[in-house]
Amino acid sequence: MGTIQEGVNLGADDKFKSFVKKNIIVFVLILLCIGFAIGNSAFLKAANLINLTTQMAINAMLSIGLTYVIILGGIDISVGAVGALSGVITALVCRNLPVSTPLPLLVLAQLGTGLLVGVIFGSFIGFIISKLKVVPMIATLAALTIARGLCYIFSGGSSVSGLTDAYSWIGAGRLFKTADKPTGWLPIISIVVIIFVFLMHSLLSKTVFGRHIYATGSNINVAHLAGVNTTRITFVSHVLCSVMAALGGVLNSSKLQNGQPGAMEGYEMYAIAATVLGGTSLTGGSGSVARALIGCAVIAVINNGMNLLHINSYWQKAVIGFIILLAVVLDMAQKKKKA
């Protein structure tokens, strides 16, 4: 049966409404910032805002990759554990490098190890999901447990430490040292995140590969019949997701200057939350990397703001949980309206 909207142009009023609806998360972010700024004047200080970008960096890395698989209609709950595994292995590798290793080489070793761990683990997950057709939730639940187990096996159950200061350059270092800021003011980790957001956003929104991801997530039958190799698309997306998680793990390990087997526990939930807050639909077919970044910002702002207002950190978790719930309910309400 036909739909009512046929041939009906949206009025200017409707256009405005749909614009607001589409960008509601941006307004939420702005409102939160205003609220916290009123609560504590320190919130809007440059130093705090720059801090904010470092606080959301790891979550951003995970969310970027997760966006790909959620658009496919899948999920990956192993990102936190894969990140931790990558952190442990990277720490182990770099501890065995000579202390005199020049910085560029060390950074290369860190990112290279992360990339490798991501590709291997992502291929494993991708194979199980795309070829063996295991439900993503179950496949990545298994992967999560395996990765966490490997973390403890490789590290012998304790934190991998004894790393050089250079090891923490990419995760905690800053550029542009000035007289009043001897440590530098521009966090390297934020630059890294921006580079990956740019690359991964372009890949998803501007390339044929990205278009095929959206198509597969929208309707896998249609995509297949349009000549899209949906198995390959699913596989590659999961590899990318794990690679981003593993690189996130490297940054986290570098930031802490160690490799903890128990690191990044529960980070997958924050990443899923950020992606959904950014408007990526859990049913697949729509979403964007840049928007996931806004979702990360919302979570980071809430945490940071509540810290400044001296709200108990246990409360912060509960609040974040409620906000995720709100985002999902809003998402569902919008869909119901459309249907």
Binding site: T3, I4, G227
Partner: protein, 500 residues
């Protein structure tokens, strides 16, 4: 005689559109009343109002002489109104009896009275003279049998008014006959049946009266006996559409597709035929004859067990649809929503999907200039009614969606188009437009293979017809030889037991 159900001056406004405009209708006990109109004419809205899904903006519903307000579908059900939707609402994992009693389960004390449920259900099914066991799982039934269960549900609830929305769309000829017997049953029990269908022949066979809706208004209600099909169609579309197949003389060109001895386990065997440039090859047969399976196999979406496919005389092996698309074949599937469209995506993105790779720029980037241009071009060429190429395709009518799917394969430069039930569920005007697009394609040297269960369509537009029966080709007919009689003879099962 008093009408059972009356709609009095019913209007329904949605933001930006008047879906129904002062519609008044009476339905009498024991009549089968056809409700017809193009998509978007207001049929669905009217059904939804009369069955409690929507509340009318103005107007009244009168049931058995009393004004009534339905606050929910539940209200309507309790007042004896039943709707059998096109998509059946059968719970697959429940038994037949459980489905029949769904929502009205009989109890003995606190517990379910299963034996009463089973016995009553079986009695209803026996009364209907259908061979279904009340204790079997709904999942194990055919679509036709599931429909019978829906009717049993209606009888068991002693419904006074039954809406049937396109009840025959997925039934074969003899299943339709069985359905009609049940409708006659309902009629003789003084139930009002409101029958919604696009199929004129069925309306003339089954219905007592017919009401035509157009653009939300009631155009006419007439005794079916007193009108002709062309009258009805004319009042549906608001003009005389004449021969809407626009049959044109095509000139057959070179051989495009040849299939030799194609087999696939339990689906079809020994399929051989040839399709030429400049012709429309119709593929007829009953639902379940294996036509869709053959087409999907040719397209590389299923694997053949044996057999050969030739494109322009060269043997090809398609391992996936991608190979077929590269060989310039396009497939319009029979189920738009499931396999044809990305419903929540824009017209443009639906249209260019198979061709993105062919037109990509360096490093795999999408060529935005090209896609915007080609989408606009196609929308105007195929006269797709839409505000823009960025409109979400789910918001278009079926006919316009189908045009976009066709455009998808035109953008992909297809030489061979396989169309599987291309006009299913689209209205008369849109059909007519679709046929002329098909003619245009063939006139330019394209080759069309059209699978269709609609006899008039097959006869009206094909240059040649092959007929399938139970997985093999039972015959070939020229345009002159093809008529209802000759096709049915080839399509129906020859002797003994029925297929499903």
């Amino acid at each position: 005689m008093e009408p059972t159900l009356q709609a009095v001056n019913i209007s329904k406004l949605f933001p930006g559109v008047r879906a129904l405009d002062k519609v008044s209708l009476d339905f009498y006990p024991g009549e089968v009343h056809a409700l017809i109109g193009e998509n978007g004419a207001g049929k669905s809205t009217l059904i939804k109002i009369l069955s409690g899904v929507y509340t009318p903006t103005e107007g009244q519903i009168i049931l058995d002489g009393e004004t009534i307000e339905f606050n929910s579908p539940h209200d309507a059900i309790h007042n004896g109104i039943a709707v059998i939707h096109q998509e059946l609402s059968i719970a697959n994992d429940l038994t037949v009896a459980e489905n029949i009693f769904l929502g009205l389960e009989p109890t003995k004390g606190k517990f379910l009275d299963r034996s009463h449920m089973n016995n009553t259900s079986q009695a209803v099914l026996d009364f209907m003279q259908v061979n279904i066991k009340a204790t079997s799982l709904a999942r194990d039934l055919t679509v036709a049998q599931q429909q019978m269960v829906e009717i049993a549900k209606v009888i068991n609830r002693k419904a006074k008014v039954v809406f049937m929305d396109e009840p025959t769309s997925s039934l074969s000829k003899h299943e339709i006959k069985a359905l009609f017997e049940q409708i006659n049953n309902l009629r003789s029990n003084n139930v009002t049946v409101i029958y919604i269908s696009h199929r004129m022949a069925e309306i003339f066979e089954m219905c007592d009266r017919a009401t035509v809706l157009r653009d939300g208004q009631k155009i006419v209600t007439r005794m079916v006996k007193e009108i002709s099909e062309s009258d009805l169609v004319a009042s549906m579309v608001g003009r005389d559409i004449g021969d809407y197949y626009n049959r044109q003389a095509h000139t057959r060109g070179k051989e495009m597709l040849r299939v030799e001895g194609l087999c696939r386990n339990r689906e079809f065997s020994d399929i051989s035929f040839t399709a030429y440039a400049g012709e429309i090859l119709g593929v007829s047969g009953l639902v379940g004859a294996g036509r869709t399976e053959v087409m999907e196999t040719i397209f590389g979406a299923r694997k053949a067990d044996s057999g050969k496919v030739f494109i322009e005389g060269k043997e090809v092996k398609f391992n996936s649809p991608k190979d077929a698309i590269d060989a310039r074949i396009g497939l319009v599937t029979e189920d738009r929503r499931r396999t044809g469209l990305m419903l929540k995506t824009t017209i443009k993105r639906n249209m260019v999907l198979p061709s993105l790779n062919k037109h990509k720029k360096g490093f795999g980037f999408v060529n935005h200039v090209w896609e915007n241009q080609i989408a606009k071009e196609m929308v105007s060429k195929l006269r797709v009614k839409t505000p823009s190429t960025e409109t979400i395709i789910g918001n278009l009518s079926g006919g316009n969606q189908q045009k976009v799917i066709l455009a998808k394969w035109l953008v992909a430069d297809s030489d061979i188009l396989i169309l599987d039930e291309p006009t299913r569920g689209i209205d008369v005007n849109a059909k007519s437009e679709f046929y002329s697009l098909m003619n245009d394609f063939v006139a330019k040297g394209g080759c069309i293979i059209m699978v269709s269960s609609e006899m008039p369509e097959i006869i009206g537009i094909s240059d040649r017809v092959i007929v399938m029966r139970e997985g093999y080709i039972s015959g070939e007919l020229s345009a002159e030889e093809a008529n209802e009689q000759s096709i049915i003879e080839l399509a129906s099962i020859v002797s003994g037991s029925s297929g499903s």
